[in-house]
């Protein structure tokens, strides 16, 4: 079954600027899809639409229109990992990860012991369990990205939407986050992430969708679509895909 399907999707902002034009794509359950494009290509808008944040009837989630999902049901199916998050209150790391349990609670419910166990397990998975009682305002940039991932893991949704997951990270933290995302994908989670980093797309994705000025210029298995020619067209600058030993390098 397809995890997500998009049929002839277009989106125009109230200001009149066209963000997406006639996008059609199918994302298989368990695949890892990179939405690759330069700044302003429409990547984040597409992610917002797939999340249901911007309503559109042309998106099919697991065989049903996205709009037919209730709020909690959608939260149990799709989880968002934003690029960053701003906080004005110093929640503890554990309290913050517990927010991911919201779709499983009653309307006015509060998390219980079982939710705390799941949140702890998520923290352990990303390597932050010893920081459980720390304030989130005292985490470094890399730890912060891991925290966002932990919340999404605690949400136990099978489809993860990630907005530029490694764009603000140093090489060490990038490697750590990448390793985690690979292990989540290995556990059959469907990953859909935006990026302008072709190397990340090639390393993490099974499929790549290239967006340029709101148009999908190609979509398919990464080995077929990530070519010097396509990347040069996408970024309007000379790009090369080279095989160095066992590693594919894009520069």
């Amino acid at each position: 079954m397809n995890a997500l399907e998009v049929h002839d999707l277009s989106f125009t902002y109230p200001s009149g600027s066209v963000a997406l034009k006639h996008i059609t794509l199918s994302i298989k359950e368990g695949s890892s899809v990179a939405i690759l494009g330069s700044n302003g290509a429409g990547k984040s808008t597409l992610l917002d639409l797939l999340l249901g944040w911007k309503e559109d009837s042309r998106i099919i989630l697991r065989g049903r229109s996205l709009q037919s999902y209730g709020r909690k049901e959608l939260g149990r199916t799709l989880a968002l990992v934003p690029q960053s998050e701003q906080y004005n209150f110093s929640f503890s790391v554990l309290d913050y990860v517990l927010f991911g349990r919201s779709p499983y609670l009653s309307s006015l419910g509060t998390p219980g012991e079982k939710d705390a166990l799941i949140a702890y397990a998520a923290l352990k998975e990303v390597g932050l369990s010893e920081y459980a009682q720390r304030s989130i305002t005292n985490l470094s940039g890399g730890e912060h990205q891991l925290l966002l991932l932990a919340r999404a893991i605690a949400q136990e949704s099978n489809i993860l939407l990630l907005d530029e997951p490694t764009s603000a990270l140093d090489p060490a933290n990038r490697k750590k986050v990448l390793g985690l995302l690979k292990s989540l994908h290995a556990k059959n989670r469907t990953l859909l992430f935006t990026t302008h980093d072709a190397n990340l797309a090639y390393e993490l994705a099974t499929h790549v969708a290239m967006l340029k000025n709101g148009e999908l210029i190609c979509y398919g298995e990464k080995e077929k679509v990530v070519t010097s020619e396509m990347l040069t067209t996408l970024y309007d600058t000379h790009m090369h895909v080279a095989l160095v030993g066992q590693t594919t390098l894009i520069y």
């Binding site: 917002d48 999340l51 249901g52 944040w53 709020r71 909690k72 959608l74 939260g75 149990r76 799709l78 989880a79 968002l80 934003p82 998050e85 701003q86 906080y87 004005n88 209150f89 110093s90 929640f91 503890s92 790391v93 554990l94 309290d95 927010f99 991911g100 919201s102 779709p103 609670l105 006015l108 419910g109 509060t110 998390p111 012991e113 705390a116 166990l117 702890y120 459980a132 009682q133 720390r134 304030s135 989130i136 005292n138 919340r151 949400q155 939407l161």
Partner: protein, 336 residues
């Protein structure tokens, strides 16, 4: 995991202790006053003196109940505003609600419709109107981020209602209406009666219960709207519900007590200091602290001097001092 359970037990224990302390003080403060002489006096002539019974049951007890109710509601309201706008410096006054309510109440006073229900309705209506105006203006402003626009529109709306209130004071009859308005602006519980409490207690209690019901969800509503949406909330709908509930509760209290400043601003800070940022505990904690705070302010106000000190003056004075202390205290490194 054990730490989590231990922390939850600790927070629940602290909430219970504060509740007990509030009840104990409420009982003790019943004996504080200036009748038959200043200080703490046990009513030894309870069975024989009707005046004693009236003072204890019809004057002091309603004040104590109103102080507890007002403290809880104003704190819950301030806390809710801070969470919804993700800004620890926001309270209903920042968005014009207090000034709108003040205008509404004063308008009824000069129009001669000074019945409790007329003042309450008008204060609630104009409080809500101020909130809607602030929100609408913020969406229309073309300057700065959302929070800045909201605060700026709140300042503008507050200023408009303040000006309108000044006009009302100018035209008010100096020996009656002007005095009423001036005292009302300073806030006070001297008018507390069972009848007045009865006129607001059900709606205010309902408002408090609704806010308490949302106590954990408020955490999520303090995050970016897209994030709270992604974890299964309907943030726009929930925000509107909570804003209206908090505003209605606040304006109903204000319509009886007059303006009582600072409670909604400082008690959420104290609540978060004591219970951590998780609103499941810091909201009820703030409410109890608010009740305690107003209980102490009112008792000081009616016992310190031979003439009563308005509670609004005391709460502003003590509130500002507590605020300075809170902001000067260094948070323990790394602790949530």
């Amino acid at each position: 995991m054990n730490d989590y359970s231990k922390e939850q037990r600790h927070r629940r224990g602290l909430l219970s202790s504060l509740c007990l302390l509030t009840l104990l003080l409420a009982f003790l403060f019943l004996f504080a006053g200036r009748y038959p002489s200043p200080g703490f006096r046990l009513p030894l002539d309870w069975s024989t003196n009707a005046m004693t019974r009236t003072i204890y049951l019809q004057v002091r007890l309603p004040r104590i109940v109103l102080a507890i109710l007002s403290g809880a509601m104003l704190s819950a309201s301030g806390f809710t505003f801070q969470m919804l706008f993700s800004n620890p410096l926001v309270e209903p006054g920042f968005l014009g609600v207090s000034q709108g309510s003040a205008f509404g109440a004063a308008l009824m006073m000069v129009l001669g419709a000074s019945s409790t229900i007329a003042v309450q309705t008008s204060a609630t209506f104009f409080g809500l109107l101020a909130l809607v105006c602030s929100y609408f203006l913020a969406t229309r402003f073309r300057f700065g981020g959302w929070l800045l626009r909201l605060v700026l529109s709140g300042i503008a709306v507050s200023a408009i209602f303040s000006s309108a209130l000044a006009v009302i004071k100018l035209v008010a009859e100096p020996t009656k209406d002007l005095q009423d308005i001036t005292f009302w602006m300073m806030g006070g519980l001297w008018n507390a009666s069972w009848r007045q409490i009865g006129s607001i207690v059900w709606i205010v209690t309902a408002c408090i219960l609704i806010l308490l019901g949302f106590r954990w969800k408020m955490n999520l509503l303090s995050l970016q709207e897209k994030t709270s949406f992604s974890v299964g909330l309907s943030p726009k709908r929930d925000r509107v519900i909570l804003l209206v509930v908090a505003t209605v509760g606040t304006t109903l209290i204000i319509s009886i007590t007059g303006l009582i400043g600072w409670v909604g601003l400082i008690t959420p800070h104290l609540g978060r200091k004591l219970f951590g940022s998780d609103s499941a505990y810091s909201l009820p904690g703030s409410m109890i602290i608010g009740s305690l705070f107003l209980l102490v302010c009112d008792t000081l106000g009616r016992t310190l001097l031979s003439s009563e000190i308005p509670i609004g003056l005391l709460s502003s004075f003590l509130g500002a001092i507590i605020f300075i202390i809170i902001l000067s205290l260094r948070n323990q490194e790394g602790k949530a």
